[in-house]
Subunit: 212 residues, 3 copies
Amino acid sequence: MNFSAAEILLIIEAAGTFAFAVSGATAAIRSRYDLFGIFVLAFVTAIGGGTIRDLLIGNLPVNWLTDSLAIFSVIAGFLFTLIVFRRMKKLEGWLFSFDAAGLGLFTVMGTQIGLEAGMGAGISIALGTITGCFGGVLRDLLAGELPLIFQKEIYAIAAVAGGSIFVGIYQLFDALLIAQLTGIFTIILIRFIAVKKQLGLPKFELPDESST
Amino acid sequence: MNFSAAEILLIIEAAGTFAFAVSGATAAIRSRYDLFGIFVLAFVTAIGGGTIRDLLIGNLPVNWLTDSLAIFSVIAGFLFTLIVFRRMKKLEGWLFSFDAAGLGLFTVMGTQIGLEAGMGAGISIALGTITGCFGGVLRDLLAGELPLIFQKEIYAIAAVAGGSIFVGIYQLFDALLIAQLTGIFTIILIRFIAVKKQLGLPKFELPDESST
Amino acid sequence: MNFSAAEILLIIEAAGTFAFAVSGATAAIRSRYDLFGIFVLAFVTAIGGGTIRDLLIGNLPVNWLTDSLAIFSVIAGFLFTLIVFRRMKKLEGWLFSFDAAGLGLFTVMGTQIGLEAGMGAGISIALGTITGCFGGVLRDLLAGELPLIFQKEIYAIAAVAGGSIFVGIYQLFDALLIAQLTGIFTIILIRFIAVKKQLGLPKFELPDESST
């Protein structure tokens, strides 16, 4: 049972790493970066969120230094982007799907790692959200863009919702696999609905400056 | 005595966290970020300096993961900004006051933590300056701005001065509370004078490029 | 023998730190930063790559907190930039030479530290490349620029090549000093050739967007 949970975590991790590596490599091509820049952005986007999580909880050396699966998943996403993906049509739609999958997979994985490190439910959900979202924040910073997740359709809230559902099901019913799948599915579903209906969080103004 | 020092440190931390959360949330509103972006910038500005300090000295898991006071102070600053602060008049003046308070409080706290971790006086003052200044650097990076503290009126030097006075009084007279208050007061005072008189550090030119 | 290796590592470190501090200070002057900003960029450029490496492998407190040699080398590079360097002619050429030296010295040092921490050859070369390259990435982010190393002439590949040659010679012949010197020389040589002949890595396009 434990072994099976570990195996599932590995598959989740590989799929999420691949998905985010594609998203990072595509952003680098857009910024006119060279082959090395494309690789670094694939790498940083894919392992950035988990690295920040590992640093914060003191889980050092960070995971990917001793995890060849993560490295191979990044390389696979990098090569896939250069050879196949950038020639595909309707790039935006595919890119969104990869990103939604990565967000769901990483958030649930990060939340589970937080619980396993003995953190409380709220902090674990925050660590999951950081795992899911901050690779993309680093990607945008390195690509010279304002972080998308602070502006566009509901994003991090999807991670918080999915992480909460994962924790709830896992702690109430002790059913790890069902909790994982439900959490991931929730996140992907919220993202699809949010983008389809262009749902965003409210923004605010500083009245002092509205006349500027 | 030890207990009282710990208590004072907690109050300092909560006040500084609140002040910096307000400053981060306001910067996010200015960048037209949504509700989540406002929360993240409040959070990163408030805990960023201390997180970098904790990472550098290996104080892991970082403080705020196990410290609900810090989380509540961020949430208080976030809500205060949305509900009260952004409707206030003379925002600039208030924002400056919050920022000066946060700088003073965090610098002295960070310096004290450095000393308690067994670092020398110089390194402890550097750690205090990092604690006080780098939340704002992360805020500016995430808001897509050049870091203010590298350009505007005397800022980090105020932190260095206040940290040094704190260490001096603490080590000479072993009077923690007086050392803390004097250090904090020095930093706030220097910031007020610097902004009032628009005192800045010198800038330089590269002669090679002056004709560009 | 061990002692001599440690000594050589110290000299390498001081020279690389000095070189990168000059590069960071010059970038700050270009961004019109004040005296403090110039110091911070000198510092971050010089110790940023090694700090990220130490964080990733859990080598905490990070090296420079307890290493006065690093601090003095940064201060020397900072003062040298303000007093001598910015008045020199043909700044670009000198700046390039400092940067190439720093890249060679830091990459080989970082790779060696990776091996000594028990990492495999590939990960050690990656850690060396991070040590050599990411100070410059942080410098560019703090100066508000897109990271140069993702766009310009062959840069990180030079680090990967030099790190690989270092590991190869060291593991085959157990000749540390020769391995170090050959690795450093390879990196500097590749950089000189790349800039002289303007060799870059290939860039790519997203066909979907070529009509935009």
